[in-house]
Amino acid sequence: MIARRRLSTGVRALLALLLTCLAGFPLFWIINTAMTPTTDLFQGQQRLVPDISRTLDVFSVLTTDTPFLGWMANSAVVAFGTTLLSLVMATMAAYALSRYKFVGKGPMGFLFFATQMLPEALLVVPLYSLFAALGLLNQLSGLVLVNTAFAMPVALFILKSAIDNVPYELEESARVDGCSPLSILQVMVVPLVAPSMAAAAVITFFDGWNEYLFATTFIRDRSSWVGSTGLASFIGEFSTPLDTVFSAALVFTIPAIIFFLLMQRKIVSGLTAGSVKG
């Protein structure tokens, strides 16, 4: 029996090693490519061990020779705006869906779910003409507005399932004491669902951070590009050295990895609960 268990642990570890290598290899390859001189890369001389000593050189080239840091700053603005706008609306809407029964609740809930189905590629054309009319093309604020439409429902699912799990009794007594619903939400509910707020913040932030389709269609000025469009502009062009391109990819990726690893449990429980209950 013990021998069998040991065997299965061994098989498990081996399988895990294989899966870890599969998952980790492309990430490792980003690092490795960033740390290999471009001349070696194009002679098929990429070694399997990254040359860490090149780190500082590579990143100083990235900061001096490309506008990538500026593009990342634009991404940060878009992502931060998306997060703020999404969380304010999603928190209030989640509270309504969780605590009240009202006429039209079903259709409104469906509206939030249905946005998961809308292809961005379909909406990009009408949104383009809408934004052209509103003077929002070439504006980072335009990206904030459109990203929020796709990110906010996801935040709403996470927050609704979190609020569902907060006992109602506390609020009941506060309400009897004459607190307004908005202050109950602010003072009592939001602190209790803070971890889920953080998870929702991470997911909406990186929705804005990663988004490419709207950014590439709406933003034409090179100086207003965001990280994703800037990075994509390196694809198929040869004037930027490949190791610099991959160092840009690395810098663009690291914040996302850190925050997702910190928040993964909360994000997953929120997403699944939200989609199961609608």
């Binding site: 642990t9 498990r12 570890a13 399988l15 895990a16 090693l17 899966l19 998952a23 980790g24 492309p26 990430l27 390859w29 990429q46 609306m89 999603a90 209030m92 809407a93 309504a96 009240y100 009202f102 609740k105 409104m108 509206l111 939030f112 189905m117 809308l118 292809p119 961005e120 590629a121 379909l122 909406l123 009408p126 949104l127 003409s129 929020t148 439409a149 906010m152 709403l156 009897v176 004491d177 004459g178 990663n210 490419y212 389709l213 269609t217 990075l231 694809i235 490949l242 991959f246 690395l250 663009f252 990726t253 996302a256 990895i257 997702f260 690893l261 449990r265 429980s269 699944t272 989609s275």
Partner: protein
Amino acid sequence: MTVTTSARTQRATRRRRFSWTPYLFIGLAVLYLLLFAVVPLLKGLDLSFTNTRLLNPTAGKYIGFDNYDHLLGSGAFFKSVVTTLVYTAFTVVGSLALGTVSAFVINRFFPGRILARAVMVMPWAVPTVAVVLVFRWIYNDSTGVANAATAALGLGERGWLTDPSYGMLSVVLATVWKVTPFVMLVVLAALQSVPEDLYEATKIDGADSYSTFKLVVLPFLLPTLRVVALLMTIWSFRRFEIIWLLTGGGPVDVTTTIVIDVYRQAFNNSQLGLAAATGMLGLLLSLIVTAVYFVVEQRANKQNGVNA
């Protein structure tokens, strides 16, 4: 105000009074989605009945169902539907299989589990543009590591992104790599919600590990797997960036899914009307799949009800 509150709450439990409060809370979000999702959708629907061109967007004329007639009569549209279904099927099956296996592996202790779990989650967080960049480099014809590996194994070299027979495979592999962690985490959460005493009970009853799996784990897992399959399907239907940036729909259109078709018609051929009609038919496909899912789900629930 406070005097009447307790009486009011007592009555409220019996019959709820109309109140503006929930509408004030949810109103902003609903209006927002109406403006930035529903209005564009309706505008898209409107466009799909016109011959609007990108270069002169105000000069479009209504042409009735011509765009739809054209699409439904064209082989290219059906090819993009088939391509979408193939891409979706392989991505969903691949990520569900790999994600479920990963979850089972991670669910029990082994040395190095925490590190393995962290690495296995990471692809989920990598921005799509970075994913594309590294996969294009891996798939590169002359200097890519994929060809170095197949050559070393004596399998020769492939045009991963240039040979029409491999384009779909390459795109699916990159997508599966990116989305599998989500499946893994969701399945893992479901596995960990299986009550421990259920395991104990079946063990006492002398069940072997296969029947434990069949009787205890699978019933817990199936609803989760169905939801994940639905989400993965819907997301695959609308997935744009990874395909567009990897292949642009090529080589020779083998990865031109419906959304790629929409974007190319709009921004390469500047046919906004036709693009909108294509997108509408794609959306219809998503709606059908979702409807089928909910029918299946209800049947499954009914069956469970009978069994219990």
